[in-house]
Symmetry: C2
């Protein structure tokens, strides 16, 4: 792996990601960053996100549309994804102990970690659905 040099853009990307809780896509980050730095390019955002993921400073998550999202929090934790608005939320639930061991006894190889995402409807979207249903019922 080659040596990293300081870069203003990389620092901005990391700061921006740190400041938010919405696990943005590369493009969401790009749109936000270009407000302060109109010359920043999407390619730079992608390149730095890959780099930061490689060295373990951030984490990459695949949402169910196959679009990658990024997480500043690299500690083990789980997520909740809204099926309606695609919002991705951290869950305070602790990591479930011994989960990797449970898979391990199968005849599959080496189990290192796991990804657990809960799906459903966030409070906001659920409220909207209730409202629509109530109008139908009239």
């Amino acid at each position: 792996m080659k040596d990293l040099k300081y870069s203003r853009q990389r620092e901005a990307i990391l700061d921006n990601l740190k400041s938010r809780v919405d696990h943005p896509t590369a493009d969401m980050l790009f749109q936000s960053l270009r407000k302060d730095d109109p010359k920043i390019s999407l390619g730079t955002v992608y390149r730095n996100l890959s780099l930061l993921t490689e060295i373990g400073r951030i984490k990459k998550l695949s949402d169910r549309n196959g679009i990658e999202r990024y997480d500043y929090n690299t500690t083990d934790h789980y997520h909740f994804a809204c099926k309606a608005c695609s919002k991705l939320i951290d869950l305070p639930t602790g990591i479930i102990a011994g989960l990797d061991e449970k898979a391990k006894h199968e005849d599959i190889g080496i189990v290192e970690n796991h990804s657990l995402i809960f799906y459903g409807y966030c409070k906001e979207c659920y409220q909207k659905m209730l409202y629509i249903d109530s109008k139908k019922a009239v």
Copy 2:
């Protein structure tokens, strides 16, 4: 939702998917199907996979490269993904029960289901790694 009519291609897609255990991508299915039906098109494969997913006949999985994979088995079960060769393997059901309940008590909305994927190295890839390491050690 509109009415489905019978289609030879859709039946072939479903049969092919049923016959395999590797959770293929759309293109893997396409490559396999065109051996029997050289005129089938990739667009048809995609359209039918979406359709079948919508009506719940099959399930869609996102692997960590953001490429979609398809599963004939729609019952609840978990998967193991090899970080080296991207192989995706079924794990026997019922490793953990009541997982949705764990998320539910949080203040997030409605939890309907979840996706749990274990990551590691399959037996084949692990063997290869051991072999490479042993040569290095000499």
